[in-house]
Amino acid sequence: MAELDIAVDQSKMQVSDEVAIEMRDVHKWFGDFHVLKAINLKVHRGERIVICGPSGSGKSTLIRCINRLEEHQRGEIFVDGVELTSDLKNIEQIRREVGMCFQHFNLFPHLTVLDNLTLAPLWVRKIPKAEAEEAAMVYLERVKIPEQAAKYPGQLSGGQQQRVAIARSLCMNPRIMLFDEPTSALDPEMIAEVLDVMVGLAESGMTMICVTHEMGFARKVANRVIFMDVGEIIEENEPEEFFHNPQNDRTKLFLSQILSH
């Protein structure tokens, strides 16, 4: 596992007492399959949380429940104090506050990079076009690809696409960012540029929940690491403790496998 070669300034990352996300006894089933079991999780504003675990452990499902891409079937989820119910109004409100990046970027291939970025601000936030484009350019600068604004996603490399995807989420001014394995589909050369952007985001004080296997990132940026298996949160600790002194046998096995490479 390559160490993250980026200077991280932990002092900038302040965690407040305000609760950003709270999950209480959340359960979810896919048909008969019990994917999430009694999940209890409290995320404070400014926290950076990394969720790891073997595939099929429910980590993606967990974060997808937060912006209702998946519907939980028992328990309660509060985002910014608003409870997620089947009321579309709440869902739309929460989705506006929660940004999400996907493993396969999911950029809109029929729109230019700039149009990808301004689409939601224009149609959801109803911001005037000039203003939205100006903001989009600011975020493109921040992810260091302003020169690609007029291109189509298909003309960009994977790392660039993922950075555009991050910028696209940021254009909605979210208070919480969810990352669903953002580097898993990337070549090693491109992982660094994406992590770089994510570190920058963490330094700006964004509340982040990342499903990732980038342990270097977890060690340097996260203030909490969560290990999931078979739909449960097995272990939850600060990164130093988590990596050097795992408590649960399942965690130890997982870490030994993932860190031995």
Binding site: M100, F102, P153, G154
Partner: protein
């Protein structure tokens, strides 16, 4: 040991060299495309031989030997007459000049020469080019005289000499095979416009010119007002075109603006009532369920009363409005998935609203084609019944109208509805002194007010429409209407809502599983049987609806194919950004899905365009129908080939243009991924 000749460049510094000469240019093209391999050579030679075999005779038939001008079939019959003359001359018995064959030959030659002279007088266009070559230096009039003189005198040598002069022309006649475009020229107007009155044809031309003039700018890349122009083309142009095509009787002149007003007020009332329903739902689920159940029941019962013949004329129309009022909001709500609020209506839910308005406008269009003279008559209790209903809507509208979120449509509804109601009252029920319904004269034309405003285009009934014009009307309406309906059906078929899904699947499978001919037959023959006596839905409208629904079922499946090809991630990304269902559909999913299935969509369009010929079986004469009609005219028997070739060419031109345009669009939308 190294070979220095092949080491002239440092690694990584090899210059770009030109390709070998035999792989580029004409030679390269011929080599790679026509003569690449033995099989390729053989196929190329066979193809070239086939072309040589087929193309020259076709070109000869269509152009070189064809007759273009003239106003009757004589010019075209020149070949036949010549060969008949040859036949007559061949059987002359020179030993017995008194025999009947000789007399026939004299008669034939006289007739033929007369025809020839006549044709030459008419102009060079009326004579096939091949024949003109043989006529050089021949004095036809003198030849005719010489020939008959020779026969009379029994001078065999003179007869031989004169028939010798005729021989090349006779040979030409025996071999002649040329098209008679005179046939098309003479019937051209009918093939284009059907039986539309001659002095009114300008209306069709004007409408199509207007279409070209307004649609043209849409194809200009940098034109800035595409959106308003599209709205004009889709909403206002059909009204203008309909007015031009059909004209209006006096009643319709009054009824039409009313209907438009009614439709507008209706649409606005629906819009205004949505937030009201939303509020109701917030207060009580029971109430909203009641509303959602009762309103359609009221609408359906009103509709049933209408169709059962108790309500006709104005009352029937008013009831239809009621039905639309009752049916449209639940549909909108159903598709919207929840009760939308004002902002949603204006900003988020615009797609179902557009669909709703389109339905209303369609109703507004379809109704005037009903035969009002026959319908107007009985008492209008329902007009009075609808008035409170409309008032109710107005109340709902004003209740739903929130001044804090001031939105013009709400205010407009509140203002428009009473105005509309007052006018509707006067028109439907009559001025206050005519409250006695029994004495009221429902014949529109008899009312002095309508007499005064009778400056109208003469009414041209749809049975007179025909030819290419009718083809374009049917295909145009079908194409424009089937795409949105198909999209809605495709979305419905993929919906999570079970009832919507089942309804859509049933609709698609039924319409797709039935032959178009039987649809048309049902529409034209069976449907009227279910209507009350005296009520008459125009046949063309029924056919249009049949064709549209038929092709929209196909369209739905094509669009669904596109929707299925969109990765789930696109839906999720759109959702994660907070886009509503309709917005993610219209901004993200449909643009990609439709782009992907452009070939399929155009395929359906082309199929629809050609299927319009089937309307022949219900007695509408489209392009092909008119050609067939002309070809069976007793004076023009024998020219069906020309007719069919012309009709085929007409269809081909339009279909080919559609195909080329779709390819252009595909290239333009390609974003390189």
């Amino acid at each position: 040991m190294t070979d220095t000749a092949h080491q002239s460049h440092q690694p990584g510094h090899h210059p770009d060299l030109p390709p070998p000469p035999s792989t580029v240019g004409l030679v390269g093209w011929l080599r790679s495309n026509l003569f690449g391999s033995p099989a390729n050579i053989a196929l190329s030679l066979v193809a070239i031989y086939m072309i040589w075999l087929l193309v020259p005779p076709i070109l000869n038939w269509a152009f070189a030997s064809a007759v273009f001008g003239g106003s009757d079939r004589y010019a075209c019959d020149m070949g036949r007459s010549a060969s008949r003359l040859g036949e007559a001359i061949r059987v002359i018995n020179l030993q017995d000049l008194e025999a009947p064959e000789t007399e026939k030959a004299i008669r034939e030659s006289g007739q033929f020469l007369d025809q020839l002279v006549e044709a030459l007088d008419a102009g060079s266009e009326a004579v096939p080019a091949g024949l003109a070559n043989h006529l050089e230096g021949v004095d036809l009039t003198a030849l005719g005289d010489d020939l008959s003189a020779a026969f009379e005198s029994g001078n065999i040598d003179a007869i031989k000499a004169n028939t010798q002069i005729l021989q090349p022309i006779i040979d030409w006649g025996a071999a002649y095979d040329g098209a008679c475009w005179t046939f098309i020229g003479v019937w051209f107007k009918q093939i284009m416009y059907g039986r539309y009155p001659d002095d009114q044809v300008w209306r069709i031309n004007l409408a199509f010119l207007l279409l070209i003039a307004t649609a043209g700018p849409l194809f200009v890349e940098k034109f800035r007002f595409k959106a308003p122009l599209s709205v004009f083309l889709l909403i206002i142009y059909p009204v203008i075109a309909y007015y031009l095509f059909s004209g209006f009787d006096r009643a319709a002149v009054v009824a039409w603006p009313l209907r438009l007003m009614g439709s507008t007020a209706l649409a606005l009332a629906v819009l205004a009532s949505l937030p009201f329903l939303q509020r109701l739902r917030e207060r009580s689920d029971l109430l909203s369920i009641l509303l959602l159940v009762l309103v359609p029941i009221w609408g359906l019962s009103a509709g049933a009363t209408w169709t059962s013949g108790i309500l006709t004329g104005a009352a029937g129309w008013a009831t239809t409005v009621g039905v639309a009022l009752a049916v449209v909001p639940p549909i909108l709500l159903f598709f919207g998935g929840r009760m939308p609020g004002w902002r949603d209506v204006i900003h988020d839910r615009y797609l179902p609203i557009i669909i709703g308005v389109a339905i209303l406008v369609f109703i507004g269009f379809a109704l005037p084609i009903m035969n009002w003279d026959e319908v107007a008559g009985p008492t209008p209790p329902m007009a009075m019944a609808v008035t409170p209903a409309a008032l109710c809507m107005a109340a709902m509208a004003s209740w739903g109208y929130d001044p804090r979120e001031s939105k013009a449509p709400g205010a407009l509804t509140v203002v428009l509805l009473p105005v509309y109601l007052v006018i509707a009252y006067i028109v439907f029920v009559g001025p206050p002194d005519l409250l006695n319904f029994g004495a009221f004269d429902w014949n529109w034309n008899a009312r002095p007010a309508f007499q005064a405003i009778s400056v109208t285009l003469p009414f041209v009934e749809t049975p007179l429409w025909g030819g290419l014009f009718l083809t374009l009307v049917i295909a145009g309406v079908g194409i424009v209407a089937s795409l949105p309906i198909g999209i809605v059906l495709a979305l419905g078929r993929r919906s999570d809502m079970v009832i919507v899904r089942i309804l859509c699947i049933a609709f698609i499978e039924v319409w797709r599983g039935v032959p178009l001919i039987s649809v048309l037959f049902m529409a034209s023959v069976m449907f009227p049987l279910f209507l009350p006596e005296g009520m008459n839905f125009d046949k063309l409208v029924r056919v249009l609806i049949g064709v549209t629904l038929f092709s929209s079922a196909y369209m739905a499946e094509v669009v669904r194919g596109g929707l299925q090809a969109i990765p789930k991630g696109q839906y999720e990304a759109a959702q994660a950004l907070g886009l509503t269902f309709w917005k993610s559909m219209s901004l993200i999913i449909l643009p990609q899905a439709l782009k992907m299935v452009i070939p399929g969509i155009v395929n359906t369009f082309i199929g629809l365009f050609k299927d319009t010929t089937l309307v022949l079986i219900v007695g509408l004469f489209d392009l092909l129908g008119m050609v067939q009609l002309a070809a069976t005219n007793p004076n023009w028997l024998g020219f069906s080939t020309e007719g069919y070739v012309f009709a085929a060419f007409g269809f081909w031109i339009f279909c080919f243009c559609m195909s080329r345009y779709s390819q252009h669009i595909e290239r333009k939308l390609h974003t390189g991924h």
